[in-house]
Symmetry: C2
């Protein structure tokens, strides 16, 4: 079964989100885009609080200017473990050690190619469990 | 009046936290270290949930292996706006746009010099307010 990915962005992340969406669809992922129409000057918390409840057993990719605002807002939500990653190594560790279910990306800090590499590292890495599971349980 | 900084770390971040603490004290900051004794194998959520309530009108510097676990746990706490930063530019934007009050650093991903530069950028940057204030209010 194809993996289902929930996407959102604010105005600053919109173009990168569109680019990543196209690539995901080409690769066979099922994409739920919670914000398919650009709204200039919109606020990242509104985007997160709309999209986060749709991330259940799926994963989310949330894009803003820096990834920071998305990551703050997403982690305020119950059941969301969000990581703002600026390199593939962070994305690997966010999945392997933190079992993150939302990846936050900064459109103003990353090239498209960097963002793609970070995203696919995130999507293809499994949680290691073990001692990390005890820590993740404490986040709930 | 000297700025008060709340510090904590898990085992992976302990040495970098000690290094940053020494530097802060030398520069005249008032430091509250919530975890002054290394405990091997301790869990980042425990450290965060102990230290976060001590960050009131102050700022916090929380260090783990990647900064990711600290950032997830810290943002789960009411009143905390935490940013995991891997470069000074991110630290600048986390303060200027997101009014972050906790900086999370990854000891396994940063050199001591990088960590210092990120930390002082964070501590010396003010919140810009304006349209960013509306967004930050929505996080509460």
């Amino acid at each position: 079964m194809a993996k289902r990915i929930v996407l959102t962005s604010d105005h600053a992340g919109f173009r990168l989100k569109e680019f990543l969406k196209k690539d995901l669809i080409e690769k066979g992922y099922v994409v739920v885009d919670d914000n398919p129409v650009l709204e200039e000057g919109d606020d990242y918390p509104d985007r997160v609080f709309s999209a986060a409840p749709k991330v259940k057993h799926d994963q989310g990719i949330f894009v803003c200017g820096t990834g920071i605002g998305m990551c703050i807002a997403a982690n305020k939500e119950k059941g969301i473990i969000a990581a703002d990653c600026s390199m593939p190594k962070e994305a690997h560790l966010a999945r392997a050690h933190n079992n993150a279910n939302v990846l936050c990306l900064g459109a103003r800090l990353l090239t498209r190619d960097q963002a793609k590499r970070i995203m696919y590292t995130f999507l293809k890495t499994s949680f290691e469990g073990g001692r990390h599971a005890r820590r993740v349980e404490k986040l709930a």
